[in-house]
């Protein structure tokens, strides 16, 4: 009975939105890169670096939004690096992405150790506070759930809507999708595939970094190594689940967050009979299971992972 009662609790749905936010940022970022034809496995490291640098900026006295912006910029820089290596040089997107992840995350830990001395409890910042919603906050159930969320969560939803609009309703979106499907055709239409890919990777990576920064500036208030915990890889899986559509990416992130929030609460109900590690495994196994169901049907951008060289087939 208690297992069902959890689903009706306000706390669960507050947690769902909070857990989903970094996944929405990350999944949309990865989706944008892949729509232009480039897989970005740098996501895990870019999120870690965004988490560190955003937090470090705020720790050193900047505003929270400036921190988020600094994180986004750092993401764009790593995106630029990924773009240089995978677009003009056409290097393996798998290996380059993993290299970026290893580089960005180890650089984040290095900078963290350098700027914050070892201490028993890590230093904290004052994170984003819940947004006052006025009348909406009075709606039963929904009101309190929404009132506990911070501004970046709303930003994530807004970005999803913007991305949906841009990708499917604007000439720019057409150019992006064409570059991901057939860069040669795009080129024939006067689109510069190289430029489109650079822009998409940089903007997408900026989103990933903001997802990381959400963790240190809103969900928690401090940075610690290994805090990303595979969230980036989950985002890569969610893109496949979403079949490269932003609306489904949003849905997928929320569903995944529901699984995660549910298992966290179930742990406290069933902690005596079942080892807690089995619950913690659930999200990862859910991600793999979802892939097993959806991967066959997913409509992959046709030029994904195929380097583009002018005049070469």
């Amino acid at each position: 009975m208690e297992m069902i009662a959890i689903l009706g609790s306000q706390g669960l749905w507050e947690a769902v939105l909070r857990i989903a936010t970094p996944l929405i940022f990350g999944t949309l970022g990865a989706l944008l890169c892949e729509r232009a034809g480039v897989l970005n496995l740098g996501i895990e490291g870019i999120m870690a670096f965004g988490a560190l640098i955003g937090w470090l900026a705020v720790f050193n006295g900047t505003g929270l939004w400036t921190g988020l912006l600094v994180a986004a910029l750092s993401g764009a820089v790593f995106g630029l690096l990924h773009a240089v290596l995978t677009v003009p040089l056409g290097l393996s997107q798998h290996v380059t992405g993993l290299g970026i992840t290893l580089f960005a995350s180890s650089l984040a830990y290095f900078i963290f150790r350098l700027s914050v001395p070892l201490a028993a409890s890590p230093p904290t910042v004052r994170p984003f506070q819940p947004v006052e919603l006025g009348l909406i906050g009075d709606i039963p159930f929904l009101g309190p759930v929404l009132s506990s969320q911070t501004a970046p969560t709303y930003l994530a939803f807004a970005i999803a809507l913007v991305l949906m609009y841009v990708l499917f309703r604007t000439p720019l979106g057409l150019a992006i999708r064409m570059t991901g499907e057939n860069p040669h055709a795009a080129e024939a239409q006067g689109v510069n595939p190289v430029r489109v890919r650079f822009a998409c990777i940089m903007v997408g990576s900026a989103m990933m970094a903001m997802g990381g920064a959400f963790l240190t500036l809103s969900a928690f208030n401090s940075f610690f190594p290994t805090m990303i915990q595979g969230r980036g890889w989950v985002c890569i899986a969610l893109v496949v689940f979403a079949s490269w559509r932003p609306g489904w990416a949003l849905t997928g992130a929320l569903l995944f967050a529901l699984v995660d929030a549910y298992q966290l609460r179930l742990q406290s109900v069933l902690e005596d009979s079942i080892p807690y590690q089995l619950f913690l495994m659930a999200p990862y196994i859910a991600a793999i299971a979802v892939l097993a169901v959806t991967a066959r049907r997913a409509r992959v951008p046709q030029a994904l992972m195929k380097p583009y060289r002018r005049g070469e087939r």
């Binding site: 040089l89 290893l102 580089f103 290095f110 350098l114 496949v240 793999i288």
Partner: protein, 349 residues
């Protein structure tokens, strides 16, 4: 500016590329050391001292290189067939916990000559099983093995955590979550007295040689290469793709599992969740630094071990965080990718 495919590649270029890549990575990391306020030359001197300065530091470096050779081979074998096994970390952990499960009691009465090989096989099976899950997901459901192996790393770590706190917990460890120790007869013999260097190094070196010979001299070696270069053409030429991939997955997962087994039997004696400081991930870098050559893996693993062991000593001496080793190794992967590109292409203005 454009890039033009080279028609011939000189030996100097092929050998020079990784050397240039590592130098470039060291120079870039030097910038970070300077940023941290230390003298770059001094820092690198301490890294070399830390890795080679004394008899025991040399032994420690070789001890660190042992699992890295195996995880490097695991990645190199798989990547050659374009099977993107990024799950070395999880496979290593399953190999380790497998040894802890079997090694404590089942092999306790056996002489070492039997117990050690049996546990090697158990460890290899642990890694193999996890890799075959990912291969199965790829072959049946078209699940990208990169994502599945990466996600399974976290599942494997949680599984090990569950075991060392549950079924395999050592009751004598004062509540510390660690597994029961492997029996003495399953402990690998030491190669140097008063150091931790153990016979696992010889196993790793031999395996590198064996895999080199398999790749260079056997039909399977050629088939796995063909499957990687052009799967369609390979199938057309009669290569049994499915069987080849299963075999590659078994070897790759098995090597990673064996790394875990050897780490338990040679160094730790028991399993904890921190038994691997990223050996599986480092293996990917090592395979790429070696340009997937099994003998090159030995050199690349030694470079990585030198950086990690050396950076510990350097960190104590000049106060630069030892994470600089991780940064340097990751950078060397990126510079190596660029260097490999220029062994294949030349720049035309």
């Amino acid at each position: 500016m454009r890039f033009e495919l080279r028609e011939t590649r000189s030996t100097a270029l092929i050998i020079g590329a990784p050397v240039m890549a590592i130098i470039a990575a060291l120079v870039l990391a030097g910038g970070l050391i300077a940023l941290a306020g230390a003298s770059v030359i001094e820092a690198y001197r301490f890294i070399l001292l830390g890795a080679f300065g004394t008899r025991s530091s040399i032994a420690e470096t070789l001890t660190r290189a042992t699992p890295l050779i195996l995880t490097g081979l695991a990645a190199a074998v798989a990547f050659r067939a374009r099977l993107w096994n990024i799950g070395g970390e999880g496979q290593l952990l399953l190999g380790a916990i497998g040894v802890a499960a079997v090694g404590a009691e089942l092999t306790a009465g056996l002489p070492s000559a039997f117990a050690i090989p049996i546990l090697f096989v158990v460890g290899a099976f642990g890694g193999m099983a996890l890799m075959l899950v990912s291969l199965g997901l790829r072959q049946v459901f078209k699940v990208d093995e990169v994502v599945s192996t990466l996600l399974l790393n976290f599942v494997a770590l949680l599984f090990v955590s569950m075991m060392v706190e549950g079924a395999l917990r050592d009751p004598l460890a004062f509540g510390w979550p660690q597994s029961v120790p492997v029996a003495d007869n399953a402990t690998l013999p030491r190669l140097m007295e008063r150091t931790r260097l153990h016979a696992g190094l010889i196993v790793a070196l031999l395996l590198a040689l064996v895999i080199y010979l398999i790749q260079a001299r056997t039909i399977f070696g050629l088939q796995s290469k063909a499957a990687g270069f052009n799967a369609g053409a390979a199938r057309f030429a009669g290569v049994p793709l499915g069987r080849t991939l299963v075999l590659v997955a078994c070897i790759s997962g098995g090597l990673a599992g064996l790394a875990g087994a050897i780490q338990v039997m040679g160094v730790r004696g028991h399993v904890t969740t921190d038994i691997s400081p990223g050996f599986g991930y480092s293996g990917i870098v090592i395979a790429m630094l070696a340009n997937l050559n099994p003998l090159g893996v030995i050199a690349a693993a030694c470079f990585t071990a030198i950086m990690f062991i050396g950076a510990d000593g350097m960190s104590r001496a000049v106060g630069v965080p030892s994470f600089i080793a991780d940064v340097t190794v990751a950078l060397s992967l990126l510079t190596m990718l660029v260097a490999l590109f220029f062994t294949q292409y030349r720049v035309r203005w």
